[in-house]
């Protein structure tokens, strides 16, 4: 199945979540229903997810984010791209991000 995530698009946090940084942890709190269940559903990101999330500014196309991460972490772009698309698919499924352009 084709990924709904495009490397040519920019993505940013959805207004349907509140993102908080508490004691070094990035916590994503659903604001509206349909993101987690109706109760007790908060999410945090692993290190990889956090590095990607912090670059989702809604302005840069995802390809630029991949290139930046590949340079910073000295990792193959293909591997990074897989991680970035994987995270964004997960976040999109949870309605935590939106396509900004």
């Amino acid at each position: 199945m084709e990924s709904p995530i495009s490397l040519d698009s920019a993505y940013g946090p959805s207004e349907d979540v509140v993102v908080r940084e508490i004691e070094g942890e990035l916590i994503i709190v659903p604001l509206v229903s349909g993101i987690g269940d109706l109760e007790d559903e908060l999410f945090t990101l692993n290190e990889t997810g956090r590095a990607i999330w912090q670059r989702l500014d809604g302005l840069r196309p995802l390809r630029a984010v991949v290139n930046e991460l590949a340079a910073e972490f000295d990792a193959p772009a293909g591997r990074i791209e897989e991680d970035v698309v994987g995270l964004l698919e997960e976040l999109a499924r949870r309605k935590m991000i939106v396509r900004k352009g």
Partner: protein
């Protein structure tokens, strides 16, 4: 980057100490009493003022003050707030306050009697869920019982209407009953009804051991509350009826937490706090002793949490009766006595409460860790007795036959 990372997000179990890698937030949970006023006038209530008490209403924190407290709580890492009262839905700004909390990324736990739930509020709660189960108190299975308990004609019908709205909108909630003479005979019906309600999670909880007035403001009401309290034996029987595993749980609890506390007063968690209806920080909502209250209108929530709270938690008992009895009692963790209940009963922080002592002793007798008439603070070999609680049934039987079983 981690090449093997496949699941990038995970659910937060913030109550688990090992979740926080760098350290727990300074304030994990905050209880906010939005008002002391209530549209019910329940016979057993430790706090309610009449809903038309204009003087109380005038003194209550403003919407802006509550929003400031919420923002400060979020900045201290707070993840969850509880809105309680009185009846919190009496506040005309409830929806605004609720939305402010949720937009700060706070989970909200709402304690309510559900009588003031409107279609509009239910729709808001459906669209922007509280992320915690609401807790809905129910005061009888008939209009007549409800009126006897709440003193509010029409409360039964209004409560059922509110619960119907929550259920119809798919908002999860826990039902809570109250065990007073008028409702005792309705418990089976209440539980059967609760099982049928969509959205009502699990078995209902019950208010059983009633606290006296936390403002120490009404001796006539206190007398009535004392009359409603069940005796120690009846309490043990009720607990066994409510939970088949009660005795086992009790044994497990005592085996795990038995021990003496000396002059240490506060055993509660260090990362929670409360704010009363007038913007005063307290360790918990029941504890209104002047030495344990901090005025947020004169200082910040951060100061309350970081400077005031640690000092309060270091307070020590000095009452000789407390030190002789409670300080030496190996069942202290089982007992509900705490500075708040010493305050409501005696106006002090460290006076034994006979009622709670009786309840604790009855529980301990029921699992055989003390004998009838024995005082827990005078048990010299409590460690050996507690050890036997965890021994196998065969070991206990052998000990009994050999005459080593002391109680």
């Amino acid at each position: 980057m981690s090449p093997a990372a496949k699941a990038f997000t995970r659910k937060v179990e913030s109550g688990r100490a090992d979740f926080w890698k760098a350290g727990r937030p300074r304030l994990a949970r905050l209880d906010i009493e939005l008002t002391e006023r209530c549209n019910n006038d329940c016979v057993h209530c430790s706090i309610n003022l009449p809903d038309g008490d204009d003087e109380a209403k005038r003194r209550e924190s403003t919407t802006a003050e509550i929003k400031n407290i919420l923002a400060e709580a979020a900045s201290l890492g707070c993840l969850s707030v509880r809105f309680t009262g009185g009846e919190p839905l009496l506040r005309e700004d409830f929806e605004e306050t609720y939305m402010a909390a949720r937009k700060l990324g706070l989970r909200v736990r709402i304690f309510t009697n559900a009588t003031l739930v409107t279609p509009r509020l239910a729709a808001v709660l459906k669209k922007v869920p509280p992320l915690e189960k609401m807790e809905v108190s129910v005061y009888g299975m008939t209009s007549e019982t409800s009126e006897k308990v709440t003193g509010n004609p029409g409360a039964y019908e209004a409560s059922r209407r509110g619960i119907g709205l929550l259920s119809g909108h798919g908002i999860p909630f826990v039902l809570k009953g109250v065990v007073v003479p008028d409702t005792k005979g309705e418990m089976d019906r209440f539980e059967a009804w609760a099982r049928e309600i969509s959205g009502a999670a699990g078995r209902p909880a019950y208010a059983v051991l009633f606290d006296l007035r936390s403002r120490r403001d009404n001796e006539a009401k206190n007398d009535r509350i004392r009359e409603l309290r069940m005796g120690p034996r009846e309490y043990v029987e009720l607990e066994s009826r409510l939970r088949k595993s009660h005795a086992g749980e009790l044994r497990g609890f005592v085996a795990r937490f038995a021990g003496t506390s000396g002059d240490r007063l506060f055993a509660c968690l260090a990362d929670t706090g409360s704010v009363d209806a007038y913007g005063r920080f307290q360790v918990c909502l029941l504890l209104r002793h002047p030495e344990t209250v901090f005025d947020l209108k004169k200082s910040s929530l951060r100061s309350a949490v970081e400077e005031f709270l640690p000092k309060v938690r270091e307070m020590r008992a000095s009452d000789p009766a407390y030190l002789e009895r409670c300080g030496r009692c190996f069942l202290k963790a089982l007992c509900l006595l705490c500075p708040a209940r010493s305050w409501t009963e005696h106006g002090t922080l460290d006076t034994p409460v006979e009622y709670l002592c009786g309840i604790t002793h009855a529980q301990a007798v029921s699992i055989g860790v003390i004998r009838e008439g024995e005082k827990s603070w005078a048990v010299a070999d409590w460690r050996a007795r507690v050890e036997r609680l965890t021994a196998s049934p065969k070991d206990r039987e052998t000990a009994r036959i050999e005459g080593r079983e002391e109680c």
